[in-house]
């Protein structure tokens, strides 16, 4: 919203500079986002009178004009088709510098000297019209500077509308002037007056929904000529406020709204048939609005209607059928108050946002229409001297004043300020609140009508009022004194940090944050499109409506997207996933329903052109992770598991990970078909861990071991077995074979040349040790024998 400093001054004679005013309002009331001086560049633009117009001898479209500017007569070349002798015009004299930067100088135009410029509206920043020069009305005094006649220069403040969300009283200049008067202690120059309305004279009003329309004032006015342009001064002001000047009648309603803050609507009263009714629309009732759109209404849309048709969507937008036009001479002027509920509901469903709906949805003061009429009738007389107010209907609100029981020390308790009772009372009184002492520290505060529509309804609101007027910036920083209250440790947060740090530091990966959405495209490529996903009703982009169930698809997409540019990727991410089944968090305390299950995952993708088996790189890294934070023995792996969610993993290179028999993740390479789909022609390994599941277990590193007392005896063992026998099974047997075996290390795996087809060779270092003596060589050999006998029996292993 834009505010004119000149118009504000009409109601409060403050003496601050516009910059000081902006600062004051920003610190105490709402955010002023910017400001601009307008009309300052109209210096050296004066009122002139065209005395004669001749055709330029060298150019068909140019005219040579003699223009009287008071002290002298200037020769001006003008290209406008509408220039004519006898017109009063705005003349930019030599030396003028116009709003868009144009400099006026004495110069020759096709051989004829021109000593200035006759200006068009847009050249002066007074509108968009450039069809011809701007013709002034006869009352503009010859030779005078134009700017002061238009109440310029002015300073326009731009307000952040969001910061006015809770201030329905500040949506017009009048309210802002009242606010400034509170802050500057300068007088507020508007006094409410008692206005008597003319009789009904046959006008009929029916309010079917008084809850949604507490105030309605309908005034019938005759003797208008609506299509006349507005006086230049009004035009300039409206343009500066960002409200386009249309014609005198429309400008009248718009100005009134900008001044008072209450939207005002004019119907052509000759197009209204019978009584005016404020009612809910009938279901599927059609309405053709001023924006040329036809809307299909519902039974909770509040409308203004006559006997036959809907005239307007109440408080939002007028209709075509009873709209004012060039021929309008008689209007039905609506000054009303509508409940924010119906306005918001309808405006947001139909996606209509107008200056009117924006104001009504903030819950305006139901008494404001009367103020609007009080100022409106005076403006009417000014703009339309022939106008006659012939009839009026009204519905008045029945208001009970809002009272709040308050204890003034609350202000200090909530803010840390140390104001006195006198100061608190003084501020509230200045703001228009009523103060009644009910005890030393007990007061009953009456809220003025312009603040009582929801904005101020409880003691905390009063604290805010006092604190902001006194100045939040006057609160001094301090530290609280508090009791320590221990909270349970947050295992998931701790595990997340440990996990991330481990893989970042040990592995050296790059952490990325991907979106929580997953594209249909990547899901299709990975064969996951048939899975059930949670979906957004309003996705950010088409094909991006699903919520991720694993971090891997997006990470794989990251690799695929950039695989042309580089071949080595080592990426990790921690993030939340969203599953279709219900989880544990309640949707609302005390209710049964829960939110869908959400889990925190940690995932890695790794690929490197030199690494043909990236699986083992990640596996090694994961082994380090297990050792570091958990009792590694509690982890189990299950090779080649069935898992639809990870169906794109290589059937021969994947493992499911378990902790305490609970699945906690997967490790694998993506299948060759998935590689092909993604356009990645080298192996890619993935790891995904379910941190939420893992955090439920106690995690700590392996217990401290004091080591063995007696030296271990080392023996090597090399065996030949079928290729598809899992190492995991071998090692299990080896461990079980000897009680004296304390450590097994795999140091070689080989298959290929020199070995029979389908066989592999594995070589181990075995360490035997007794807790109570040094083993002899013979004893160790005996233990080794136990081991290979067992392997021979179980796996037909050949000892090499």
């Amino acid at each position: 919203m834009f505010l004119s400093v000149n118009l504000l001054k009409k109601y409060c004679p403050f003496s601050l500079s516009p910059q000081e005013l902006a600062e004051l309002l920003t610190l105490h009331s709402f955010e002023v986002e910017g400001g601009e001086e307008v009309g300052a560049s109209l210096e050296k633009v004066v009122v002139g009178k065209v005395q004669s117009v001749e055709k330029h001898p060298q150019a068909d479209r140019l005219h040579i004009c003699q223009v009287d500017v008071g002290q002298k007569i200037l020769n001006i070349v003008c290209g406008a088709p509408n220039v004519a002798a006898g017109q009063k015009v705005a003349v930019a004299l030599v030396g003028a510098r116009l709003p868009h930067g144009m400099k006026i100088a004495k110069r020759k135009v096709r051989g004829v000297v021109s000593e200035g410029m006759i200006c068009a509206e847009d050249e002066l920043g007074l509108g968009n019209n450039h069809e011809g020069i701007m013709v002034l009305t006869e009352d503009f005094p010859l030779g005078k500077e134009l700017a002061p006649l238009l109440d310029l220069p002015d300073y326009i403040l731009e307000v952040d509308n969001k910061s006015l969300t809770n201030r329905p009283d500040l949506w017009g200049h009048l309210g802002v002037a009242r606010e400034i008067s509170v802050l500057t202690k300068k007088p507020f120059l508007y006094k409410e007056e008692k206005v008597t309305l003319p009789p009904k004279n046959g006008l009929k009003l029916k309010i079917t929904e008084p809850r949604y329309c507490p105030t309605y004032l309908g005034v019938k006015i005759q003797g208008l000529r609506g299509n006349e342009p507005s006086p230049l001064k009004l035009k300039a002001l409206l343009e500066n406020l960002g409200l386009n000047s249309v014609n005198r009648l429309v400008d009248f309603t718009n100005y009134l709204m900008a001044e008072v803050g209450n939207p005002v609507h004019a119907f052509d009263s000759q197009k209204i048939k019978g009584q005016v009714e404020v009612r809910f629309a009938r279901d599927k009732e059609r309405f053709l609005a001023l924006d040329q759109q036809e809307y299909i209404l519902q039974s909770n849309d509040l409308v203004i209607a006559d006997q036959e048709k809907v005239l307007a969507l109440a408080g939002i937008i007028g209709g075509q059928e009873a709209s004012v036009s060039e021929n309008t001479t008689e209007i039905f002027l609506e000054l009303a108050n509508f409940s924010f509920k119906s306005i918001r509901q309808t405006a947001s469903r139909l996606h209509i946002r107008t200056e009117a709906s924006m104001r009504f949805e903030k819950s305006l003061d139901p008494l404001l229409p009367f103020t609007a009429w009080n100022l409106g009738r005076k403006l009417l007389a000014e703009l339309f001297p022939q106008a006659r107010v012939v009839a009026a209907v009204e519905a008045r609100p029945s208001l009970k004043p809002t009272k709040i029981s308050f204890s003034w020390p609350e202000v200090n308790k909530k803010t840390g300020l140390s104001l006195t009772k006198k100061e608190v009372k003084e501020i509230l009184t200045r703001l228009g609140f009523g103060w009644q002492d009910k005890g030393k520290e007990k007061q009953e505060i009456t809220v003025p009508s312009w603040r009582a529509t929801g904005d101020v309804s409880q003691p905390e609101d009063l604290v805010e009022e006092v604190a902001r007027v006194f100045g939040y910036h006057n609160i001094n920083p301090d530290f609280p004194e508090v009791k320590i209250k221990p909270f349970p440790p947050l295992a998931l947060e701790k595990l997340t940090k440990k996990t991330r740090d481990f893989f970042l530091e040990q592995g050296g990966l790059t952490e990325v944050y991907n979106y929580s959405f997953v594209s249909d495209d990547i899901l299709t490529k990975l064969g996951l499109a048939e899975q059930k996903y949670l979906e957004l009703a309003n996705p950010a982009a088409q094909g991006w409506g699903k919520l991720r169930q694993s971090l891997l698809p997006n990470l794989l997409e990251d690799v695929a997207n950039y695989f042309k540019e580089k071949k080595e990727f080592f990426l990790g991410e921690v993030g939340e996933i969203f599953l279709p089944q219900p989880g544990k968090e309640k949707q609302k305390a005390g209710e049964e329903k829960t939110l869908p299950e959400q889990k925190r995952m940690w995932a890695i993708v790794y690929t490197c052109p030199e690494d043909k088996e990236p699986f083992f790189f990640l596996k090694g890294l994961f082994a380090g992770y297990k050792e570091k934070f958990f009792f590694a023995e509690k982890f189990k792996e299950q090779p080649n598991f069935e898992a639809k969610k990870y169906g794109y993993l290589h059937t021969g290179r994947r493992e499911q990970l378990f902790f305490n028999q609970q699945p906690i993740g997967v490790l694998g390479e993506i299948s060759p078909w998935a590689r092909q789909k993604l356009g990645i022609n080298q192996p890619v390994a993935c790891l995904e861990l379910d941190l939420t599941a893992l955090a439920k277990f106690k995690f700590s590193c392996a217990p401290f071991s004091s080591g063995q007392r007696y030296p271990a005896v080392k023996r090597d063992l090399a065996i030949l077995v079928d290729k598809e026998i899992y190492y995991k099974n071998l090692i299990q047997e080896i461990r079980q074979a000897s009680r004296l075996l304390t450590k097994v290390e795999l140091f070689d795996v080989y298959e290929g040349k020199n070995l029979p087809k389908g066989k592999k060779s594995l070589a181990f270092h075995l360490f035997f040790c007794s807790p109570d003596r040094t083993l002899t060589s013979e004893e160790a050999d005996k233990e080794l024998q136990k081991v290979w006998q067992r392997l021979e029996k179980k796996f037909q292993a050949q000892i090499r």
Partner: protein, 340 residues
């Protein structure tokens, strides 16, 4: 004469020794002169036994001296040869030490993680909990429990992603959604921050994304007031920017706080003199805050007659962009080539 013999041996040795070029040469020389079987000096000494007692003594002394001399020379020569060899080797092993080092993989934390951890540490040191909550949230916790009923204009302030579902579920538009949940769970007194991912249904450009991070803060106790909020934030921000920064309160509207305010940060880049970051104002609009609205306390099962406190929420993403001078918010999500 025996002395002449020694003299000859000496001359012969030194003329040969000067030419020695390697350890092997020296070894041969040592053998040739001092060797037990065929050494020249050894042979000469053998002759001593035929001399008189007086001559014996003299000759013995002279021979020993020569032996010492030879050994010393050999040692010195050996050292010299060694030095030359090293010199030569070092010359051969010369490296262009200005070449880059071997490439190793160093982990790279996301800038949002680094900053978030930094801020978490500061708050932890002030006794705040670090909590999280669901990103997919009910309308109740995202709006109603925060005193934003249906049709409230404040719902316009945040464009929301809705889930296709029977229940009204949203991607949380702010971390404030954790306020009521946390109060229900932990009760008062309470102090925590909630860093997390939030979502807005809006078009993306260099400074807007539909996904970003916030940090929510909540402190509830018997006498917590706005001056404490100011004190804590001034401390936290000074630590983040590693210099004394100023903070300023001014009115702001958020339905879940009353009084509600905006906290501006005295621009740490120009020290308040005015620069492009603060748009020449000296202040950076940093966060919304205020005293927790009694309705929010009630929603969290906390009695507003007994307890009061402040809440705040700021954009971690925006702070990271400021601190690390990131020009485009979209670079923070997804993989980009310049990530590493």
């Amino acid at each position: 004469m025996f002395v002449d013999d020694l003299k000859r041996i000496k001359e012969k040795f030194f003329s040969a020794a000067e030419k020695a070029k390697s350890d092997e040469d020296l070894l041969l020389l040592e053998k040739e002169y001092l060797g037990r079987k065929r050494g020249a000096l050894t042979a000469a000494l053998k002759k001593i036994s035929s001399l008189s007692k007086e001559e014996k003594k003299q000759a013995g002394q002279a021979a020993n001296e020569l032996k010492k001399e030879i050994l010393a020379f050999l040692a010195q020569k050996k050292e010299q040869i060694f030095q030359e060899k090293i010199k030569k080797q070092e010359k051969e092993e010369w490296l262009d030490v200005t070449l880059p080092g071997k490439k190793i993989r160093t982990g790279k934390k996301h800038p949002l993680t680094s900053l978030r951890e930094e801020i978490e540490e500061i708050f932890l040191s002030l006794g705040f909990l670090v909590l999280n909550g669901p990103e997919l949230e009910s309308e109740y916790y995202n709006f109603e429990a925060l005193n934003i009923p249906d049709y409230h204009p404040a719902r316009d302030m945040q464009d929301t992603f809705y889930l296709k579902s029977k229940d009204k579920l949203v991607l949380r538009t702010h971390t404030s959604s954790v306020q009521a949940r946390a109060l229900e769970k932990y009760g008062a007194p309470f102090r925590a921050i909630v860093p997390g991912r939030v979502f807005r249904y809006e078009a993306t450009d260099a400074s807007h994304d539909n996904t970003f991070y916030q940090i929510e803060g909540l402190m509830v106790d018997k006498d917590i007031n706005l001056s404490h909020l100011k004190g804590i934030m001034q401390e936290v921000l000074s630590r983040v920017f590693q210099k004394e920064v100023k903070v300023r309160f001014r009115p702001g509207y958020f339905p879940f706080v009353e009084p509600g305010l905006e906290l501006d940060l005295g621009c740490p880049f120009c020290n308040g003199k005015g620069c492009s970051v603060c748009k020449k104002t000296g202040w950076i609009e940093f966060m919304g805050a205020g005293m927790v609205h009694p309705n929010v306390l009630r929603a969290g099962g906390v009695d507003p007659q007994k307890w009061q406190g402040f809440a705040f929420g700021f954009g971690l993403t925006r702070l990271a962009m400021m601190k690390f001078n990131i020009q485009d918010i979209r670079l923070l999500t997804g993989y980009h080539l310049n990530n590493n």
